[in-house]
Amino acid sequence: MTSEIPDGGVRAADSHAPSEGERPRRDWSRASRVLLSQEAVLFLIVLALAVAFGLYESVFWSGVNLQNVSRQGAVLTMVAVGSIFPILIGGIDLSVGGQVSMLSIFAVQLSHNMPIPAAFLLVISAGICIGLVNGLLVTYGRISPIIATLGTWQMMVGFTLWYTKGLPVRNFSDAYRWLGAENVWFLPAATVLAIGVVLVAWILLNRTRFGRYVYALGGNFEAARLSGVRTTFVTIAAYVTCAIFTSIGAITLSSRVGSGLPGLGGGLEIQAIAAVFIGGVAWGGGAGSVIGAALGVALVTVLGNGLDLAAVSSDVQTMITGFLVVLAVGINARRRSASGV
């Protein structure tokens, strides 16, 4: 009935739903459908993959390997969770890989000259500056996000290569490597930090005005503007948030390898964006969740690890990831058009 009537009619009919008694049930079934079709499905897939890999290669479920997986996933989680902010407002940040490379070198250089926490704080401040530049280019500069962040990515990669002459900088001290190498109880410190990042991002998106405005901008920019949302501020803030989470990722990665490398963040932006889209975040913004993005990372990481154990070449893994992105975006587009959003 609903599909036949264009525009107004349908909704009128829809909003005057049948009888009082039926309403709560319809609500519930709708809610469960949404849950099943999004994060839960993704979670089940990750779980199924893990079980399958475990059956194939029992090493998978060993403590060491699980720690490895979660450590590998931690950095990507931080970057991916950061990346969803620009994507949710309808933009994108392609510069995160360049940020990681440049900031990893800053982190090492600074750590030689001051206490490590101070160095890390300065790195995050540098990240904030990068996010500001991206945000300003996109808003006041009126440059499309893809071009603007592609430009800053190149600038950072170029600067990093020039500054280091292509050579790594190192800090192998235990203090510097603690975050990347040590465990808190049985969990790697990096994993704990990643969980913290996910939590903070979730709160930002679901419990703050900023988060609401982020979804509003991606859902309908003009409607948000006409509702008095300060769109310029929110846009800049989204890029800054992305850069903050990315700089935390840069610190973690640099700590794990004990180095700063010009190529450290290479390809990270593609992996992060792939994970975000696999996680159900909509291209063009407005829809998607932190949990989805994190599960997207989990899927990519578990798959990578499992295929590593099965000795499948990393080239094939890249192909599979690409296929998954296309598949996920396709499925999402279909589901959204079915639900009318």
Binding site: A12, A17, R212, Y215
Partner: protein, 505 residues
Amino acid sequence: MSRAIAGLVDVTKRFGSIVALEGVTLDLEEGAVHAVVGENGAGKSTLVNILSGVLQPDAGAVTLAGAEAKFKAPADAMRAGISTIYQERALVSQLTVGANILLGRESTRLRLVQTRKADAAARSFLAQVRLSIDPRRPTANLPLALQQLVAIAKALSLDARVLILDEPTAALTGDEAENLFALVDGLCRKGLAILYITHRLREVERLADTLTVLKDGRLVRTMPADGVTESVIVPLMVGREIDRLFPTLPEPSQNVVLEANDLELSGEFRNVSLNVRAGEIVGIAGLEGSGKSALARVLAGAETRTRGSVKVRGKPVTARGIDKALRLGLGYIPPDRRAQAIIRTFSVRASITLAGLGQFSWFGFVKLRKERQGAQAVREQLDIKTRSLEAPIWTLSGGNQQKVVLGRVLAAGSDVLVCDEPTAGVDVGARAEIYVLLAELAAQGASVVLVSSDMLELMGLCHRILVLREGRVVAEFGHGSVSEEELVRAQLPRHEEVMPAEEGA
């Protein structure tokens, strides 16, 4: 009696609890003009939409030559020979006149687009509507009256046997209208059946063979139009309609709340000054392109004015930033709900609280419980019909979506409302509710600027009506001091339009 080509049998159409059309039966006969009159919201548009396949009836049927016809889309009706001429949206303005006429058939019968053959075909159809303009002329800058004729030519090229004219003279000058009448007479003689929707009784007397009066979705009477006069029709048409739709207006106070001085937006309007008092509803009338929509945007701060000042309770509103205007109590209801107001991914709750989220927050954190209570209060105040506050906004009817948009600025604490076409695409029931609501808000001291192209709305709901023409305020009418016709006439351009027959080559 001649044969019925098409018609409706016992058609009922509901929008939720509102009955837009109830048990309407109507025949369109070969070579005859069937006029349908009725007040706004009487069901005329619904009737047109059902006959032209835009809407499907809930009960009853559309008939073609006596047999039931099922139209799933406008294209079905068009293929069956039923063409509809709307007031404004008939043509693709980027295409030439000829391309518009032959749109969709370039590749079959006429293989090469824009060849001499196509031009000749287009010209022959144009000749049938007595228009001798160049088919290669762009449509965009064509006067509305001529666009309408081109649309009719297009219908003829589709072998239309039934032509629906939906208030075709609403924006025409007297001469243009007379030209159209002559054309309609000619088409009738060729055997077309014509459904003529109007609210001008003069045109019924001039044109119609049969007359149907609709009121509140019901067919009051169908009769031969011969010798029917205003005194016969008006009592059938009116009644409780206007009283029902429009509430009594509260008395405004003396305090000026919104004060605009010498506003200008280059290319749109200039020298516009207006004061709105507390409790006052001021209407802005004008044709498309008169600058009335731009004026609303500038007043609300949605667009940066070129010059002039806006004050709310004596406090100046800076030219930039609708967010700052909102904080001073200015709320804007944009004209295009879908593109400018609704965020389709949002729930009803989030849609209501978007503009006033600051009030439901504590240091940037949204207090969900307080937010839900705020949204619930608005839902109750405006009687928003939704199964849940968490339902997606797009599941609501147009009218209820519009109430949400209104509720949004109210929840933000706005008491100066700038509404641009607040009842566009809103069904009759919700429309009446929105009128009552605006009057209530005014009674509580709110100031309202109501930009509208619905004359009855302006006449029924406004204390004063300013008329904008070509970017200037040209007239001001008080409540009850102007007839619909005077109001329309005040909006029409003063310079004489070129007669269609003299146009072009």
